[in-house]
Amino acid sequence: MTAPLVEMIGMHKRFGAVHAVDDVSCELHAGEVVGLLGHNGAGKTTLMKMLAGVYPEYGGTIKVRGGKVVLVSPRDAQRAGIETIYQHLALADNLDAAANLFLGRELRTRWGTLDTHRMAHETGKIIQRINPSFTHIHLPVRALSGGQRQTVAIARALYFEARILIMDEPTAALGPGETRMVKQIITGLKREGIGIFLVSHELRDVFDVCDRVVVLKNGKLVGTTRVSDVTEDDILGMIISGKRPGVRAETPEPSTAPA
């Protein structure tokens, strides 16, 4: 069997006295969508930020295709084929789609200046592929709709041929039609063999697109399970009570659920 696309082993991250992520391990295979679930503050986003190279230091081991990597800057993660689509999309509102798509990795002419022609051209091409109705690529992204902004963020990941994609709440700010579009994109990427970590609050979305889920609570791993083996209630139980299905003796009291 080939090595998993990503292995995260014994991950740790502290912020002062808070143990945001405490000994969490998980893996991701090619063509697989793994959902990360848990309450706010469960450690999902922190875990993903470690993989995205956001933290200059972290505890634990990350392997990509079986080889150990050290991801201490966003550039390290990009080099390892990891692209991230953040919850707030991380777009510079005052710049246009092309400037955002190539931010940090601008195409340049042979004199080292920005090749704005080629960047506009490439942006037009890739956005055409994802969302043909979107043509305002020269407008500042502040002027775009939620779905169009999402298109820019996804285009950024796709252009650089990510093999590993992290999506943090990709449907949080979207209407039903745009949510459907994003799910279609996810399914398409999966078929191309891309591995996706999906951080989400929407159980519906998770059941629609994920193969497995990783559930966290208070920074600790509750468990990992195949979506096809469980019901939505099982997953909810894991999120709320922090118990694995099967271990569950009785239905958890609603009052024990943290606010």
């Binding site: 991380a90 400037a99 940090g104 340049r108 200046t113 920005l114 022609h117 506009a120």
Partner: protein, 388 residues
């Protein structure tokens, strides 16, 4: 930008009427162009600072410090050295770079607010300017150096001025045409052709009108074959300013540095997550400001033919006002270099016009303060409309 140009035009007409034709005389416009150049040079750099959500209150003091250093070295150490004036400028600019590294390090790597660091700098460099020559004024300066300050010896003359004007018109036409062509390639909508024509015609008229006024100011030092005065033409400080505008516009639109300054100002988190070295970016911005302050110091001292530790007072506020009046948003992410030139021209025109009207210094300060409030109010109203 267009509204600012109209405001400038209104101010000019009002001052022309109030001064009974003194304000728009060739002599005064020549002086205005030279005075405004030093402030405009700093204003252009201030655009980058403010776009990146920073501020620099130290530039006036830094102007005095680098100006003192340049003139002190030139007169006391390099007198008689070939191209000594050039070396003295290099030393002033090097000092600007060092100060920029110092301030940028505190802001970028130590996380102190730019307001505090540069407010401290405001005091430090003013004091340092005094210490360079123990409070003495340094004069006279090298004759070649004085050319950089304008005046009869420091102007282009008739023929070269028209040549500069022609180059300017050609560049404007090419710029509008190539923008139009690029737009047509990638997007459906484009500005109507007549608007572009108006742009080119109005721009060319402004450029050629400026040259015509500059050459009609008689130069009574340089005489022609018949012993008649020649035309003064464009002053060297204006040429320096044009150079600065070209370089900074290029940086803003064609380099990663400029792209990152705007991205950082638009969304600092996005820039960081995209792998931009934001701390080093902040340092580079302050280094650029140091260099521009030193250049403005050269213009100022060369024009005065003296180095004095009192020069550049209020320059930081005029430069910030110029940038803001020229459309740079204090919220970050928005600003333009040519806009800052227009803004600096607005401020300097008011100052110059009120001097002609014999308005006392105290009253001039009050009026310029009020104009600044009006400009920032405009900025706030604009930003609110954008984010609604």
């Amino acid at each position: 930008m267009v509204s600012m140009l109209l405001a400038l035009l209104a101010i000019w007409i009002a001052l022309e009427l109030l001064t009974h034709g003194l304000f728009l005389s060739p002599r005064n416009l020549y002086n205005l162009s030279v005075q405004a150049s030093a402030i405009a040079v700093i204003s252009c750099g201030m655009v980058f600072v403010i776009v990146a959500r920073q501020i620099d209150l130290s530039v006036g003091s830094l102007l005095a410090f680098t100006g003192m250093l340049t003139t002190f070295v030139q007169v006391n150490w390099l007198d008689g050295t070939p191209a000594g004036w050039l070396i003295s400028i290099a030393i002033g600019i090097a000092a600007g770079v060092v100060v920029g590294l110092f301030q940028g390090w505190w802001v970028g790597y130590r996380g102190l607010p730019a307001l505090i660091v540069t407010l401290a700098g405001f005091l430090i460099y003013r004091g340092a300017a005094f210490l360079v020559a123990d409070g003495q004024t340094i004069a006279p300066l090298d004759e070649t150096y004085q050319v950089l300050g304008g005046g009869p010896a420091g102007s282009l003359g008739v023929r070269a001025s028209w040549a500069v004007g022609a180059v300017g018109c050609a560049w404007l036409g090419w710029q509008v045409w190539s923008t139009r062509r690029e737009r047509a390639k990638y997007t459906a909508d484009r500005a109507p052709a007549w608007l572009d024509v108006v742009k080119v015609v109005a721009g060319a008229a402004a450029i050629l009108g400026f040259v015509a006024v500059m050459v009609s100011y008689p130069n009574r030092v340089e005489l022609d074959a018949d012993g008649e005065p020649t035309g003064m033409g464009i002053g060297t400080p204006v040429l320096i300013l044009i150079g600065v505008v070209v370089v900074l516009s290029f940086l803003a639109h064609r380099t990663r540095f400029g792209r990152y300054v705007f991205a950082f100002g638009g969304n600092p988190e996005a820039a960081t997550l995209a792998g931009v070295h934001t701390r080093w970016l902040v340092v580079k911005i302050f280094v650029m400001m140091g260099i521009l302050s030193a250049i403005a110091a050269v213009i100022t001292t060369a024009r005065l033919n003296a180095g004095a530790n009192s020069i550049g007072q209020l320059a930081e506020l005029y430069a910030i006002s110029g940038a803001v009046i020229g459309g740079t948003s204090l919220a970050g992410g928005v600003g333009s270099v040519p806009g800052a030139v227009v803004g600096a021209l607005v401020i300097q025109s008011l100052d110059n016009g009120m001097v002609l009207l014999d308005v006392a210094n105290a009253r001039r300060q009050i009026l310029i303060g009020l104009v600044l409030i009006a400009a920032v109010w405009f900025d706030v109203a604009y930003t609110r409309r954008q984010t609604r």
